[in-house]
């Protein structure tokens, strides 16, 4: 299992692939080889060419030059439909299913078993059950898809993909919205695909999970393939070094995250105290305290109430009960505008759905929350707006051709910087960051982490939600762990360690779980 793969064992061979767009070259002699029954990971920073490469495989784009052999034959897919017919199935980040229809209908859509011209429901449910059973998933296929969580919906998408006789399944960031438990279920499914001879191309930003699942890893950088290695031979540090094109020493010296781990002095007075917050069925008894100049990491599995707690604090949702103290005030904020006026900012976990206004410019996106301050009698002071935008583009190193560029054209990391600047230009006291580095390439990630660090040093209170334990463990001065809507553990600087946090997240009662009220 190395580079010298025997030709007949190779399902997909791509060589010297070139793809140019007006004004840029996305792929510059890239190559990729995937063996039959292999789980092949592709990694690279944003813009390395991973997605373009996949779109050429699945027929969404056509290459300018280069050879593509699929299943032993030269192939040139002109449409996704044609690629699908040949056995290439793609599972996108956004799941393309119909939430209101049953699981069975979603799996067999367009191929429903019929009798007398009508859908044969018993046969359909049976077949759907069989397909899921092969992946070791046992759920009620008659339920509407939306009754299941994102992870299961993803499994259904995979089931649909493999049931159309796929030879190659492409997964683009399949785990970005899954928690650890769900990830391991997904991995089981991927392994059973492999066992049945299907090849899987697996694209992910989560480098930690690759050795668990991938056979080989292809590393791409700037539209080129820079390395193909066996997954078990590659350490995370080596991988990062390859992706960044840096020497190993550089990476090691800066650590895996951008946090400096400086010890900050905690200055007593709490900036924000939320106690016994409750809302609906998700938030049951969550408490957290943030002091000026400290980063409080909020850890917990997906569905533990992290995001819900952030939204309740920010006034985006009203709590059913609980006490919120911020500055001198003791009531919850009625809406985000109130919270913003009081010096709070929130960066949502979902940049696309809740962060950027895609067609507005970088300038307008950056100053959206600051407009009340930038306006006199309703008219925007464009001179001041320009000055602020220029300053923050410069300070955060936002890469944009000019401030009038629509924000959607920026990379994920740069979009995130603009969204951070949206709050920073208001000089906030408290910043709530929900997954601040999700889906961002390694370089920008470290920059953003360093920035968060710097802001806390300057006295800003930060409440940081993250699914990445490393980020929580290295960045936080204080960690609050939520499980099932309740605060189950709190750690001070000295006590923070990844194993301790994992145990708390899983809510294992072997560690001290102080009463949050006492800690606050």
């Amino acid at each position: 299992m190395s580079d010298a793969e025997p030709q007949q064992a190779s399902l997909l061979t791509m060589e010297n692939i070139v793809k140019a767009f007006p004004g840029s070259v996305a792929l510059d002699n890239a190559s990729l080889s995937v063996a039959r029954g292999e789980i092949h990971a592709i990694v690279g920073q944003n813009g390395a060419g991973k997605s373009t490469m996949m779109k050429i495989v699945n027929g969404a784009y056509r290459r300018n030059s280069g050879t593509l052999l699929f299943d032993g034959r030269p192939a040139d897919f002109v449409s996704p439909l044609q690629a699908q017919a040949a056995g290439v199935s793609t599972i996108y980040q956004e799941i393309n299913l119909v939430p209101y229809r049953s699981v069975a209908e979603n799996i067999l859509m367009g191929r429903e078993p019929r009798r007398f011209g009508l859908i044969n429901w018993p046969a359909m449910n049976r077949r759907a059950g069989e397909i899921l059973g092969r992946l070791n998933i046992h759920i009620d296929v008659r339920q509407p898809l939306m009754n299941y969580n994102v992870a299961l919906q993803q499994m259904v998408a995979i089931a649909r993909a493999v049931s159309v006789d796929a030879k190659l399944v492409i997964m683009d960031e399949p785990t970005s919205s899954l928690d650890e438990r769900e990830v391991s279920t997904l991995f089981d499914v991927i392994r059973s695909l492999k066992a049945s001879g299907v090849s899987v191309i697996y694209i992910s930003h989560r480098l930690d999970e690759l050795p668990q699942i991938a056979d080989r890893i292809t590393v791409m950088r700037d539209g080129r393939t820079v390395a193909v290695r066996d997954a078990k031979d590659l350490t995370k540090l080596e991988l990062i070094a390859l992706m960044l094109g840096k020497d190993l020493g550089d990476v090691r010296s800066t650590g895996a995250t951008g946090f400096a781990r400086s010890t900050r002095q905690e200055d007593g007075e709490a900036l924000l105290t939320a106690r016994h917050m409750q809302r609906g069925r998700v938030l049951k008894d969550a408490s957290v305290t943030v002091r000026p100049g400290e980063i409080v990491g909020l850890a917990g599995l997906l569905g533990s109430g992290r995001t819900e707690l952030a939204r309740v604090i920010f006034g985006a949702d009203a709590p059913d009960s609980g006490e919120l103290t911020y500055g001198g005030r003791t009531s919850a904020f009625a809406n985000p505008a109130d919270a913003i006026a009081a010096g709070i900012g929130l960066c949502s976990e979902d940049r696309k759905a809740e962060g950027i206004i895609p067609y507005l410019s970088v300038r307008e996106n950056l100053t959206l929350a600051a407009l009340p301050v930038l306006t006199r009698h309703g008219v925007v002071d464009t001179a001041r707006q320009r000055e602020i935008v220029d300053r923050f583009i410069d300070r955060l190193g936002i890469k944009t051709s000019n401030p009038d560029q629509p924000i959607r054209e920026l990379s994920g990391g740069n979009q995130q910087k603009v969204l951070l600047a949206r709050w920073l230009c208001l000089n906030p006291k408290l910043l709530i960051l929900d997954e601040p580095t999700r889906g961002i390439d390694v370089g920008a990630k470290a920059e953003i982490q360093a920035l968060i660090d710097e802001l806390a040093d300057a006295g800003l209170g930060v409440l940081m939600i993250s699914s990445e334990l490393e980020e929580i463990a290295e960045g936080s001065d204080h960690v609050t762990v939520l499980s099932d809507g309740r605060t189950v553990a709190e750690f001070d600087r000295g006590q923070i360690s990844q194993p301790a946090i994992i145990q708390a997240m899983a809510h294992i009662e072997t560690i001290a779980t102080p009463d949050p009220a006492e800690v606050a």
Binding site: F314, I340, G355, L368, D404
Partner: protein
């Protein structure tokens, strides 16, 4: 340099404004604007009397009501909504105003009181109906197309009820001024149109209201989390649309010196949507251009005028116009797909 000293600041380069960015700003409208210029050149050579002041005046007069309504529609569409009720609201204002100035009841005996009161009340009422649309959309969270369908159907009913379903003629010189007055040789409704377009374009571009409108239509959830008063903005755009529809209704009846609840504003909602779409406003919201809407309305109108003045049959004219609208929208889509 600074010794010339009107200001102490060094003139800053404006990296924000390059030919490329100018194209991007003008972008969505360039197709429609280009087509309008070509059509005007064609008309200058091949259409008799095109280059006369009278023709320009007639054309602008005819297009002004569509533009007024379409400007309101542009704001509504920019928030991701749609307003189907504008034609019916025109009929309502067209019914209310004559009822007031024809009543001759105290204190409305004098024209000098009755006409202004009629105008203000008629427009205010349609503005309130617009607000009603906004309440349905925000408070009751009804989809805009359904919410405004209520007044699309019911509004004309209100107009008919007010006038007992009949066409009514009137002779009211002071009111007719809206339709026939020409200060400085410019028709009043053309002046109104230009003022409304200028104010609206400025508001869209330079006020926080305009930014909020685009943010709301571009990504409502994100806008809300950035502190944008999303619901208030949507209320306001429907109210604006109602106000402008009311004004347009008054212009129509004053041009005709009569009001017909069955005809005033008929199909106006669709013409207004077409003008906005051709001009480069995107129907899913978040991207809108007021000047583009003006260009779109004038283009569609001039195309019809050209065909009719060359003796093309009405049926053909309609088909060609429809094809042109399709072409303009496809052109925009092709541009969007390219980037």
């Amino acid at each position: 340099m600074s010794t010339t000293g009107t200001t102490a600041t060094v003139p800053r380069p404006r990296p924000g404004f390059t030919p490329a960015s100018a194209f991007r700003i003008a972008g969505p409208t360039t197709g429609a604007a280009g087509a309008l210029i070509l059509l005007s050149i064609y008309n200058a050579f091949f259409t008799t009397n095109f280059l006369t002041l009278a023709t320009l005046r007639v054309n602008l007069t005819q297009v002004s009501t569509i533009v007024l309504v379409a400007v309101g529609m542009t704001f509504v569409i920019a928030t991701g909504g749609i307003d189907l009720s504008v034609g019916s609201l025109m009929a309502i204002s067209g019914a209310i105003a004559p009822l007031i100035f024809l009543s001759h009841q105290w204190p409305l005996g004098s024209d000098w009181i009755a006409v202004p009161v009629a105008i203000v009340v008629a427009i205010l009422v349609t503005g309130l109906f617009g607000l009603f649309n906004g309440v349905l959309v925000t408070r009751f969270e009804i989809q805009p197309i359904v919410a405004t369908l209520v007044l699309f159907l019911g509004g004309r009913g209100i107009a008919k009820a007010l006038l007992h379903g009949e066409l009514r003629h009137f002779k009211e010189p002071h009111f007719d001024y809206i339709g026939t007055g020409r200060p400085f040789g410019i028709p009043v409704q053309v002046l109104l149109m230009l003022i409304v377009v200028a104010v609206a374009a400025w508001a869209m571009r330079s006020t926080s209201f305009g930014r909020y409108v685009l943010a709301t239509g571009g990504n409502e959830n994100a806008a809300r989390l950035a502190g944008v008063p999303v619901n208030r903005i949507r209320l306001v755009v429907y109210a604006i649309s109602g106000l402008l529809a009311g004004l347009a209704g008054l212009i129509v009846i004053s041009l005709n010196s009569s009001t017909d609840p069955n005809l005033v504003g008929i199909n106006m909602e669709l013409n207004a949507i077409a003008a906005a779409a051709v001009g480069g406003t995107v129907l899913t919201g978040g991207r809108a251009t007021v000047v583009g809407t003006l260009v779109g309305a004038v283009l569609v109108h001039q195309l019809r005028y050209t065909l009719i003045s060359h003796g093309v049959a009405d049926g053909t004219t309609r088909m060609v116009t429809a094809a042109a609208i399709l072409g303009a929208v496809l052109l925009q889509q092709a541009r969007r797909g390219g980037d």
